[in-house]
């Protein structure tokens, strides 16, 4: 019996890193947006927070696109 530990290990590693990275990015994006809203409510603006948030969301969207590519390919 040959168990492909290497494949299992890489599935484990890749899943762990990718999930934590994606969820982290997305959370940062949400936090950024929320900061920007708070700032807007007080009459100011938080360009950095907003730009950062959009960058995070763009990366997440790229990850989703890659996911679709993996499914189709």
């Amino acid at each position: 019996m040959k168990i492909d530990w290497a494949a299992l290990g890489s599935v484990f590693g890749v899943s762990l890193v990718a999930t934590v990275a994606l969820v982290g990015l997305f959370t940062l994006g949400i936090v950024g947006l929320s900061k920007q809203e708070q700032a807007a409510a007080q009459g100011g603006s938080a360009t950095l927070a907003r730009t950062g948030a959009y960058a995070c969301f763009a990366l997440c969207a790229a990850a989703v696109a890659y996911g679709i590519y993996l499914i189709v390919a």
């Binding site: 299992l8 599935v11 949400i30 936090v31 499914i71 189709v72």
Partner: protein, 435 residues
């Protein structure tokens, strides 16, 4: 296609029924967390999942071409064997749906296939190593991998968003969750609809209608895609309830982390060559997300019932598959008896399910142990017949899911002895007195 026999027709229709139950059973994987956190309305969620499943079915035919490869020796596989395997898988899917437990449709199918093959050509027809490496190890690994990933990411997301405004974040998490759930649906369509296409193609090849090695014909692709989408749309609400509410209570953050983890694990595993079951990954991810929140709880009693169901999937579907194969082998009348038995038991299970309807209106009501257990009992009572030694032994070990076991094993007895068939639809009135 000059000689599609009646037997082949029965096999094809049964395969489509299996496809339907597969969609029905696995809606929960994609949409349970989205529904329970309120990211999408129940009906919208299943409609979206159904469309994505249909789209997924048309994306490629790679999986269809590799179905069953390695697990059993394809040479000498008869349409009867495929029919028997499907009967085992469908019944297991329906019984687990009745008691509201998520379990892998692929494992049920493999179980049925193994059982039918053993009954047909003996133990030598099954590749034991492949069973361990492709079925048993993934069943343990999938929930662990997805669970740990979901737990860590849940922890992190709660730490990061501590200072953020709750209303904005909830909206964001919902959007993210919908995207992950969409990916899971799409992946499910490409994988599972194609399994059915593969089986139908296999049956057509075995029946001599198609040349070995051919691609699935267009009508097979279309009908398989439609069957899985229809099943998904109707939604296995009982399982959705268990997965979304029964295992743990999910907040938007947790739902997002769980669904993302499940989507990542499914995609990573199918592309790194260690295929993991969708159902197992999602269940693991949901439990991991439950553990990741401070004060979050996992209802281990529900989880234990689920694990027991996973363990029983192979033997139960295998037993029914073996029994069906034994009867179907007797000739044309055997095939009809198996088909009639399948219809009768599906109808019986459906009747039992009507006693306590779970649909899109009450899917988010808190699932109680009290609800699931009488159902299991009802299932057992519906087919109350002298239980075999195995049934009794298992019943002694694990009280709650025993109902499902009893149902399956007794169904199997019925396959072997065709006579009690008509008793099935007639049985459901019995629980009225019992419950």
């Amino acid at each position: 296609m000059e000689h599609i026999t009646l037997l082949l027709t029965i096999v094809v229709v049964t395969a489509l029924v299996f496809d339907f139950t597969n969609g029905f059973h696995d809606t929960a994987n994609a949409m349970a967390t989205t529904i329970s956190t309120g990211a999408l309305k129940p009906k919208t969620a299943v409609a979206m999942s159904a469309v994505l499943n249909l789209v997924g079915a048309f994306l490629s035919v790679e999986v269809a071409k590799t179905i069953s490869k390695g697990l059993v020796n394809e040479e000498g596989i008869q349409p009867e064997v495929i029919l028997a395997a499907l009967v085992g898988a469908i019944l297991w899917n329906l019984v687990t749906w009745l008691v509201g437990l998520p379990s892998s449709s692929s494992h049920a199918l493999m179980g049925g296939l193994i059982g039918a093959t053993v009954a047909s050509i003996g133990v030598s027809g099954v590749n034991g190593d492949v069973v361990v490496t492709k079925v048993l190890i993934p069943a343990v690994a999938a929930p662990l991998v997805a669970g740990i990933a979901a737990m860590l990411s849940t922890r992190m997301t709660y730490r990061l968003d501590k200072k953020a405004d709750k209303k904005t974040t909830d909206k964001g998490y919902r959007a993210g969750q919908i995207a992950s759930a969409g990916l899971v649906s799409l992946a499910h369509g490409t994988n599972d609809a194609q399994k059915t296409m593969g089986i139908i193609t296999l049956a057509l090849v075995a029946g001599g209608v198609l040349a070995p090695g051919s691609n699935p014909p267009v009508w097979v692709i279309v009908s398989a895609g439609m069957a899985i989408a229809l099943g998904t749309y109707l939604g296995g609400w009982r399982i959705i309830r268990t997965m979304g509410k029964g295992l743990t209570d999910l907040q938007p953050q947790q739902g997002f982390a769980a669904q993302t983890s499940a989507a990542t694990v499914i995609l990573a595993s199918s592309h790194l060559g260690f295929s993991l079951s969708t159902t197992h990954s999602v269940s693991g991810a949901v439990m991991g997300a439950g553990l990741g929140r401070k004060g979050g709880v996992v209802r281990w009693s529900t989880a234990t019932r689920m694990f027991v169901a996973w363990g029983l999937t192979l033997p139960a579907a295998g037993l029914v598959g073996a029994g069906s194969e034994y009867v179907a082998r007797q000739g044309d009348w055997g095939v009809y008896v198996v088909a009639a038995f399948l219809v009768a038991s599906c109808f019986g299970i459906w009747l039992v399910s009507r006693r306590q309807v779970v649909d899109h209106t009450n899917v988010n009501d808190v699932e109680s142990e009290a609800e699931a257990v009488p159902l299991a009992t009802a299932a057992a009572t519906a087919v109350a017949e002298p239980a075999g030694v195995v049934t009794t032994a298992i019943a002694a070990v694990t009280p709650p899911p025993a109902g499902s076991v009893a149902a399956v094993t007794d169904d199997d007895l019925k396959t072997t002895i065709p006579a009690p068939n008509p008793a099935d639809p007639a049985a459901p009135p019995a629980p009225a007195a019992a419950v």
